[in-house]
């Protein structure tokens, strides 16, 4: 009796279309990607119908966490260098060039100015372990106001955006708004997520 030979077919298949597709997608994602900056706190933004896109540059971002801590973030490496130098001069703190360079690449922070030097001396991993208490914004010691003044001096085109958590208590937000108002900043942005609802979201110019 002859053995039944299993039919052998080559297990290779033509992968070319798949590879084409994969590389197409890789290229797409490589070109469109923009790395999300590392945030010291997680913020769950409220939703609104506002349909205005925040510009990419010249943004001063004030993040307000659920617990009411205020974090400060700004873009622009050179403006941040000027900002820290001026801020140091105003508060009589001398920052080393190394610290200034490190500050220039810091995405967002929430510390009183007095603790900032120590924070800048740490390396990336150590910084993550530090619990940041937010920038003091009380009427007695309003460092937030100083940060805003000096960053606007460093970059006059600055647009101020507030990113608050849905559950932040209103008085904290009000404190930030009042601080802005005291600096004659009467126009600012609230960052929100979009809810789509037909007939309501007319695109704004």
């Amino acid at each position: 009796m002859p053995k039944v030979k299993p039919h052998r077919s080559s297990p290779t298949l033509d992968m070319t279309p798949m590879v084409d597709l994969a590389f197409l997608l890789v290229t797409f994602f490589m070109l469109t990607t923009k790395f999300a900056p590392e945030e010291p706190v997680q913020v769950d933004m409220p939703k609104s119908h506002a349909n205005f896109r925040l510009p990419d540059t010249d943004i001063l971002l004030l993040t307000v966490s659920k617990e009411g801590k205020v974090f400060f973030g700004m873009d622009g490496k050179f403006t941040k260098q000027t900002l820290l130098t001026n801020m140091g001069n105003a508060h009589k703190i001398k920052f080393t060039p190394e610290q200034i360079n490190r500050f220039a690449v810091l995405p967002s922070f929430g510390l009183p100015l007095a603790n900032l030097q120590k924070f800048l001396d740490m390396d990336q991993e150590e910084r993550k372990l530090i619990k940041q208490d937010g920038i003091p914004a009380d009427s007695l010691n309003n460092e937030l106001a100083d940060w805003i003044i000096y960053s606007r001096l460093a970059n006059p085109k600055l647009r101020i955006a507030i990113k608050g958590d849905s559950d932040t208590k209103f008085p904290v937000i009000n404190k930030v708004i009042e601080t802005l108002k005291s600096q004659d900043v009467n126009r600012f942005n609230l960052i929100t997520n979009l809810i789509a609802e037909p007939g309501v979201n007319e695109p704004e110019k």
């Binding site: 290779t12 992968m15 070319t16 798949m18 590879v19 994969a22 590389f23 997608l25 890789v26 994602f29 490589m30 469109t32 990607t33 923009k34 790395f35 999300a36 933004m45 409220p46 939703k47 609104s48 119908h49 506002a50 349909n51 205005f52 896109r53 925040l54 307000v64 955006a161 990113k163 608050g164 958590d165 849905s166 559950d167 932040t168 208590k169 209103f170 008085p171 904290v172 937000i173 009000n174 708004i177 108002k181 005291s182 004659d184 009467n186 126009r187 600012f188 942005n189 609230l190 960052i191 929100t192 997520n193 979009l194 609802e197 309501v200």
Partner: protein
Amino acid sequence: MSEVQQQGGGDKKGGKVRSKKQSTRIDMTPMVDLAFLLLTFFMLTTTFAKPKTMEIAVPEKPKDTLHTPPVFEGRVMNLILGEKDKIYWWMGITKPEVHTTTYSKDGIRKIVLEKAKDVDAIVRGQGKDPSKLPMVILIKPVDSSRYKNFVDIMDEMKITKAPIYALVPITPDDKALIKANEK
């Protein structure tokens, strides 16, 4: 797995010299692995939705608060952003009737639109131009209200195209009114 086959061309029987036939297949598996690895990496790190923002313009700090113009109370709507996502609202100051509503589409949005029409009718009844004397909305968040409430109400103001609205601190009288209403 890469298979490059070589077949001998014409060797002995001096026929035509055939060009060597080579299989053009190469093993693409490692390349595909790499491609998908990169693909996954970029897909996970990418941030798609750009943030949307709501632009807010607040009035300048008044230099003197004594000489602010009085407003006819029938035009004034008080909105208190209470705790637990409730809105308390009433018109005017004398004999206020406190109502509660929600942030939904059929809640505050409807009320604001209706009341704006009522105010129009009242102003017209007084023989004045309603486009110059629209409804004035006073937004008063209590201390325990959330940021979300504030964003929601600002959003509703934009949707209903309310011409005049202001963020004002809550007064003890307002608090007493709400408390009386709770019972």
